[in-house]
Structure formats: C-alpha cells, structure tokens
Amino acid sequence: MLDGYEAVIGLEVHAELLTASKIFCGCSARFGAPPNTNVCPVCLGMPGVLPVLNRRVVEFAIRAGLATGCTIAEHSRFARKNYFYPDLSKGYQISMYEQPLCVGGGLDVVVEGVARRIGLTRIHMEEDTGKNIHDAHAAGSLVDFNRGGVPLLEIVSEPDMRSPAEAGAYLRALRSILQYLEICDGNMEEGSFRCDANCSVRRIGDRTLGTKVEIKNMNSFRNVERAVDFELARQVQALQQGEALHQETRLWDPDRSETRSMRSKESAHDYRYFPEPDLRPLVVDAAWVDAVRAALPELPPARRQRFEAAHGLSAYDADVLTQRKDVADYFEAMVAAGAGAKDAANWITTELLRIVREQKLDDALVIREWPIAPTRLAALARLVEGGTINRNTAKGLLPRLLGTDVDPAALVAAEGLAQVSDRDALDRAVRDVLARHPEQVEQFRSGKEKVLGFLVGQVMKTTGGKANPQVVQQLLRAALSS
C-alpha cells in the first residue's frame, strides 16, 4: 500500500483519571464546573505553595501498569518539565521523566485475524494543564484552570505499529482496559482520553527509523486512523519526490482531511527536566503492588474467553460484548435474570446498542443511561423463549418499554398480544387462506416451495401477527400435502 515503504507508528495517550480530587491539591477534579471554581493557590501556581501527592492517583497508575504487564518501579520520582504557555500556571508541569512508575509491558491486538503484541515503553503520572478559551470579541485569550492539576496517566507505546488499523486496534484495546479498571471514562470527545501519534516511514528492510512527525488534534478513533493514513501517504510521496522530511508537529484538520504543520518540535532537553524538589521520591512497596493486583477486575481478554467457554457465544459476539465493561455487565445481568445467553447477546447487539446509538445515550461510547434495565429486557426475552409471544411482537414492544417500568408480561396480557398457538383457531385461519389463494396452492403443489413464505405471511396477517410462525408452517404443510 505504501509502495515499498513501511509505516512505523508509536502512540502517546493521555488519560484523565476518575479521581474525586486533583493530583497535588484538594480541589475537585470534576469536569464541566463554571470557570475557575475548582482552583486554589496550589493549582494556580502561587508562590510558596507545595504539592502533596494523591494516593489514589498512584493506585490507579499501578492498576494500569499491572493490567498491561508493566514492571512497577519500587522507587520512582517526579520531574519538572519547564515550558511557557498561558495554560500552565507554574511555568512547569510536574511529570515523571527519568524514573517513571511503570515500565515495559504491552498489549495484544488482533488485526485482520493476525495477533500482534504492541510494546509499552512506560506509564507515568502527571498533571493536566488548564484550558485556553478563545475570546471572540477581544484581542486576548482567556484561561480556565479547572482542569489544571487534574491527574493524568501518560501511556507511551513502542514504535511497534505498522498500519493505521493496528493503531486503531491498540487504542481500542487500551481504552477498553482503562474502562474495565474504572480509572478513566475513555471519552475522546470530552478530552479525557487523548492521543498523539508519532509516524515515520522507511524503505521495507531498513533497520533505521525515518524522520518522525507528531500528529495532534485527533478526537476520535476514526480520526486517528484517518490522520495516520494521510500522514503516511504524505511522507511517502515527499520521499519519492526527493524532498527531505523534517521533525515537526502537525495538526489534523478533520474538515479538510489533512495534516498541517504546526511548529518545529522542540528537542527534549529544551524542557530542561530536573527532579522535582518539592516532592520526595515515591516508594511503592511489594505489599502495595500485591494488594492492587489482588483487586484487579477480570480484564477484556479473559472475559471474552469466559463468554465463549461458559456461555457458548461465538468469538464475534464475545468480542462485541466485552469491548466495554458496562455492556458485558449488562449481558451478565440479563443471563442472571434468566435470559438465554445467545438470545441475550442478540437482543443487546441488534436492538439495545442500536437504540443507545440512535438516542445518543452514550457519550463517546460510555453508556451513561440504559434505555431499559437488564432484568426487564431479560423478561421480554423469556416471553419469546417460552413461546408466549413471537420475536416480531417482542421487537415491536421494545420501544414501548423504554424509559418505563412496565412489566413486559403484564403489557402482553393487557393487550392480548400472546401468540396464538391454539391449533384449532390456527387451522381455521390456514384453511381460510388456502381457500382464498388457489393459485398459490397450485404453485406449491407443482414444486414451488417459495410460495409457502407467502402463505405463512397471509395467515400471520389474519391473526394480527400473533400466530406462532412455526406452528403455522407445520399446519400449512400438513394441509397442503393432504
């Protein structure tokens, strides 16, 4: 696809952690508060203040490290990353540099049936910056520091990805893990899960890396894939035309589907990192790591295997259901409420997730509100399994159950929707239909099996859609062959 070149892609993810308070002060880390209400002298960078590390941030970082196979360093330390920008109150960001908390590890992804392991370089803790707001009616900009000091994990991959699809698969797998760990909501649009991509190309077979370009401003998985795709093609074209590439940061413009040069990337030492004197080194002993490990939830790969083995689901269904913890939990709640596993999977993948999408009940794929409780959808599924109503009736009922607490069985009883399996009543309907359609009867008898579908449809119509289609088919066949 790249004309003799191969892609080398590494991703840097910033995940906002779901803590109650900020990383170094007791301000609320909540998203969406009025401007500059969740701020204090510490996160505003006032003189003489000191940071105090939030224990839960460390715990969350250990969780992420263990879930991705990293080694948790017993001794790690914070560093200052110095640069000037209006959204950075202190003139430096407290981050980790030489001794990060988590190192090594990796993620397994499957792309087009091929399994690959993407290595992780490191995971470290740092603080988020404030937000610049463009002021429409003035020459200045405005700064809101509510987000300044919100805890972040920076998760850096090795340059192990070779295609935009692999980059997308890695991101989805990583986000799924963070959501399972309940440490990040993974909302790309709100910016709680952000991704920058480092891309370069080299001639296939070359060992050295090509010139690296960083891409920013991608706020969805799809945009990450599109941006990387565009950038790789751009680089190959430049090289083929004999142009030299230079290391830079480029912004993805989703409206014009292109990346644009932003600024020359400062080299790392320009941040003049040095150990943070205001924080002592962090010591994480084995007992703490073991306690966090013991409390880890079942992660997506294990849950996928269990869904296949214990519930007899197909690999595809198990994959769809376990990508998100909330969906997997919903499935298990339905099964616990007596729905068959295959049925529950079908209801969720074909009906429920469609409604969630249509009614936009998920914010960037975190379902905040279920249209119907799992116990009630299970009750509806059971009515079909038990033969009380047919599948079509059930599908028609679903929209009427949304957002209510009506019991599906009560609704079926109240409206007389129970399917007719009474053979005498159906027999009459069948004879009636055959009498009215002699032509089709003739066609069927001369071997046109397909006509049976039409006849079943006619019987269904006369019973107001409530007949049991299997029984109707049996009765029709019996009547036609007599």
Partner: protein, 95 residues
C-alpha cells in the same frame, strides 16, 4: 568548556528573559564561572553512589483522594493583571 553567547541567548529565550547586550556579555562570563564550579564537582568519582534527587530519603507523604478545598474565593483572582470575570485574560494565543 566555554559557554558561548549563542547558548546564553537560547537559554534566555527559553526562560523568556529579554537581555540587553551588556547583560548578555556579563551573564556569559558569570554562567561560565558557575559551570566551571560544576565541572570540578563532576570530576569526583561517584561510582556506587545513589543519585540524590532529594535530601530526605523518606517516601513522599500521600494524601487521601478527597475534595477538601472550598469553591475558589474571589480573593484568588484579585492579583491577576487582567481578568474577564473569573477568567484570566492573556495576550492572544496563536496556535
């Protein structure tokens, strides 16, 4: 190693310091002198000595994850050179 004028200018730019030509000359000499002192320190054999990131070897104290700060009082914003309500106003940022 002698520090060059260009290096001083680059560090000044990173630190957002505007230096007059005579300050640049003076600081080049001063900084060179300071770096010399470190060169002498760097000559020490520190094999087997743990790098000192902090004088206190104790682990960092940690706080519980709880919101303990009240909503920001107005006094926090009184020192700001330019404001728009509760928002800090800064020169226009050009991405």
């Amino acid at each position: 190693m002698a520090l060059t004028l260009d290096e001083v200018r680059q560090v000044a730019a990173l630190a957002r310091l505007r230096l007059e030509p005579d300050e640049e000359t003076r600081l080049t000499a001063d900084l060179d002198h300071i770096l010399d002192a470190f060169t002498r320190l760097a000559a020490l054999d520190t094999t087997g000595v743990e790098p000192t990131a902090h004088v206190d070897p104790e682990s960092a104290p940690l706080r519980d994850d709880a919101v303990t700060n009240p909503e920001a009082p107005d006094a926090l914003f009184e020192g700001a050179p330019a404001r728009s309500g509760r928002l800090f106003r800064v020169p226009r940022i050009i991405e």
